[in-house]
């Protein structure tokens, strides 16, 4: 089917105004914020495959109609909503179609009795959080992409927020959903606090990155909004090992602060400069909830911290972080790093306590050795569990061999992180999703369970139209 027929077919179904073909609209809808793509864009290069059109359905019925058409003709389709991807997950195939749920937005209902809110897939997270705050609630979900991300994409990428130690990831917050399968069939998973009726079908869509269906509606948990009772404190500590041991003790003892962060000395230099003793890592804690609980958590963490060689930095570093934590979103379209000839980005992995320190150490040791153009490598733990934690690596390198070298050099950095993580039994993506740039490591990531993913795909999307290139190798 050629491009003209695709566009005409979709326009006949949904109306001309629902099918956008302007190159600028297609380019914007295909924009991914992975580091090398940002560099390429600022360097005047556009090497992203060009979709034939962007389809903007207004409701579930239109999504269903569009997908039935696309499936019938076997057309490559990339679902998207907010467009904050940093993993190439929303880059289309050449001549494919982008199915954009941005216009399906808004709160459908707020159920204060059952503590749930139901929203459409294109609802911006920041709008939702502000809406809930006005009603005295919070959604408890604060990814760094909060100013950009929409609900559908957050579910599809298995997102997590900065307050996850208390509220959990999106998988803990999602109550029920509506989705459209590749052939246009609409399915609903009802809202229930818990069920014992077989596998939890919500998880077919949480983290599916749009390859098993298009999420159109979601019901999410809500919580009382109590910023006035927060407890915050920070400490400097020598070495990541000591810091990891401290946060492990906090988690395994049973405390549940909302924020548990440990930044390594390299990141600390960037965040605080000489304000913190040289070579120190910094721990940031924030507890949220009823005052007696936050006070008790604060006291417990203080007691644990007192057993380590820490320096109390007070609450200001946490407050400062809280105030500026999402600022990066406002600079995504500015050539902050390109003007210095650099690619800068992040990559997150996770592992049990027994392995996480080794993974961190191996990456930090190996990268400077193998990348002579490396400018910065650091990392932090930002999401902790009883069993382990994540490391969010931050890195930058000089593009010293021309713009064509940005991508291969970027993948060299990622390869080191993936290899060192897999070698020690960790997981290669903690919360950004696999996207298309990590797909090649998926067989090793999933091991003997990987065929299940293929079986699911062939059952739910037998023609393989949805988001080719994510999660599944060819």
């Amino acid at each position: 089917m050629d491009k003209k027929d695709i566009i005409q077919g979709l326009q006949a179904l949904l109306g001309e105004d629902r099918v956008q073909t302007a190159p600028e609209i297609i380019r914007k809808a295909s924009t991914d914020y992975i580091g090398f793509r940002q560099y390429e864009r600022f360097d005047g290069q556009d090497w992203v495959p060009k979709a034939a059109c962007v389809v903007q359905p207004r409701n579930t019925a239109e999504v269903s109609q569009a997908l039935a058409f696309l499936n019938k003709h076997g057309l490559s389709t990339v679902p998207r909503t907010g467009g904050s991807s940093v993993t190439q997950s929303i880059e289309p195939e050449e001549g494919g179609v982008i199915l954009d749920g941005q216009e399906m937005n808004g709160v459908l209902s707020l159920n204060e009795q059952d503590m749930m809110v139901t929203v459409r897939c294109g609802t911006p997270l920041e709008y939702l959080e502000n809406y809930l705050n006005r009603h005295g609630y919070t959604g408890g979900h604060f990814p760094q992409s909060l100013p950009l991300a929409h609900v559908g994409g957050l579910i599809a990428t298995r997102s997590i927020g900065q307050f996850s130690t208390l509220y959990g990831g999106i998988e803990d917050l999602l109550v029920g959903l509506e989705a459209v399968l590749a052939d246009g069939e609409v399915i609903r998973i009802k809202n229930s606090p818990r069920r014992s009726v077989g596998p939890d079908l919500r998880h077919l869509f949480i983290g599916s990155e749009g390859m098993l269906g298009f999420i159109t509606e979601a019901t999410l948990k809500i919580f009382p909004y109590t910023p006035e009772t927060r407890w915050m404190n920070s400490w400097a500590i020598q070495g990541m090992d000591q810091g990891l041991a401290l946060i492990r003790e906090v988690m395994t003892t049973g405390y549940r602060p909302a924020v548990v962060r440990l930044h390594d000395a390299e990141e600390v230099q960037k965040m605080f400069g000489d304000a913190v003793p040289g070579g120190s890592s910094v721990l940031l804690f924030l507890a949220e909830g009823p005052a007696p609980i936050t006070a008790a958590i604060g006291q417990g963490i203080r007691e644990i911290a007192g057993r380590y060689p820490v320096q109390d930095l007070g609450s200001r570093p946490v407050e400062s972080w809280l105030q500026t934590r999402n600022d990066v979103c406002y600079r995504m379209d500015e050539p902050v790093y390109h003007k210095q000839g650099m690619v800068a980005d992040t990559c997150e992995i996770s592992a049990p306590w027994s392995a996480i320190g080794e993974i961190y150490g191996a990456v930090i040791e190996r990268l400077p050795r193998e990348m002579p153009n490396l400018v910065f490598i650091g990392g932090h733990s930002s999401h902790s569990y009883v069993q382990g934690t994540n490391i969010y690596f931050t890195f930058s390198f000089l593009v010293d061999k021309g713009v064509e070298s940005a991508r291969p050099d970027y993948m060299k950095v990622i390869t080191v992180m993936m290899e060192e993580t897999l070698k020690r039994g960790g997981s290669i993506a903690h919360h950004h999703g696999s996207g298309k740039y990590r797909t090649r490591w998926m067989p090793e990531e999933h091991g003997s369970s990987y065929p299940l993913l293929r079986k699911l795909k062939s059952s739910l999307d037998p023609r393989g139209i949805l988001n080719r290139g994510v999660l599944l190798t060819d």
Partner: protein, 272 residues
């Protein structure tokens, strides 16, 4: 001109984007902003990078070039390594010499920088047009006056030319190109050279043992460095909130004026 000496005067300033709202409410120079990193302002970054590029251009012409970066404000240690790794031959930290710091003391700061520059010898001095926050950009002008050399402001690009330097600058709303001979002081404005170059970890490792020069006060007699600084001016931060009240006139005028006086913080009897 066998050897060209280029110096850059710069200042690392607190990153005020990271100051929490509660501290803005009671802001003063004495406040503890210890949790806030110090960063380079964009104009100072332009000056530092421009110096390195000019140095390279003169070196390509066969000249010997020496570069120095100096500051009278606290210098973050990571920045010292960055400056050496970027290519500066000398980094001088004069912050320990001005008791009470350089803020709101442009004349003393200029005198100190001038003394160091005179002892080193210089051909070209670059500076940002303004280092940041309450800085009014006076230091470069006073430094030029102290040293008795011409000052060109608001430069955008610089390039070597026979006998000196070619400057493209903003003059009000129009651009102009000048040719000037050295010695000279130039402040960088909205330059397309917007950032100091990034340096690799390897380059930083190679200079890890190098330290900034920290001269003793005795090196600069007659500058009054030991004098006490009376302290910075009191800060008032404008808030976005405004209070509007209508005060009745006529018979109620005296009462209204008294109320207005109280609102404005006047003493009883003092007319608003």
């Amino acid at each position: 001109m066998g050897v060209v000496k280029i110096a850059v005067c710069f200042k690392a300033v607190p990153d005020f984007d990271r100051v929490v709202e509660a501290d803005w409410e009671n802001f003063s120079l004495a406040g503890d902003l210890g949790y806030v990193q110090r960063i380079l302002g964009c104009f100072d970054e332009s000056a530092l990078e421009t110096a390195l590029r000019l140095g390279s251009a003169w070196a390509e012409e066969g000249k010997t070039v020496e570069t120095a970066a100096l500051t009278a404000a606290p210098l973050p240690s990571p920045l010292v390594k960055t400056l050496f790794a970027a290519g500066f031959d000398r980094v001088a930290d004069l912050s320990g010499l001005l008791r009470g710091g350089p803020e709101f003391r442009p004349r003393q700061t200029a005198a100190l920088l001038g003394a160091w520059l005179t002892s080193w010898g210089f051909d070209l001095i670059l500076a940002g047009r303004q280092a940041g926050w309450a800085d009014s950009g006076l230091v470069p002008l006073l430094l030029g006056e102290t040293l008795g050399i011409p000052v060109i402001t608001e430069a955008e690009t610089l390039a070597p030319c026979p006998g000196g330097i070619e400057v493209r600058r903003l003059n009000g709303t129009r651009r102009e190109e000048l040719r000037a001979s050295l010695p000279l002081l130039i402040t960088l404005g909205n330059s397309p050279v917007a950032a100091l170059r990034a340096v690799t970890l390897g380059a930083r490792m190679a200079v890890s043992q190098r330290q900034a020069e920290k001269p003793e006060p005795e090196a600069f007699p007659g500058l009054g460095l030991s004098e006490e600084f009376p302290g910075p001016p009191r800060f008032i931060r404008e808030t976005r909130s405004k209070t509007c009240r209508f005060l009745p006139g006529g018979e109620d005028l005296p009462q209204s004026l008294a109320e207005a006086g109280a609102l404005l913080g006047l003493k009883p009897g003092e007319k608003p």
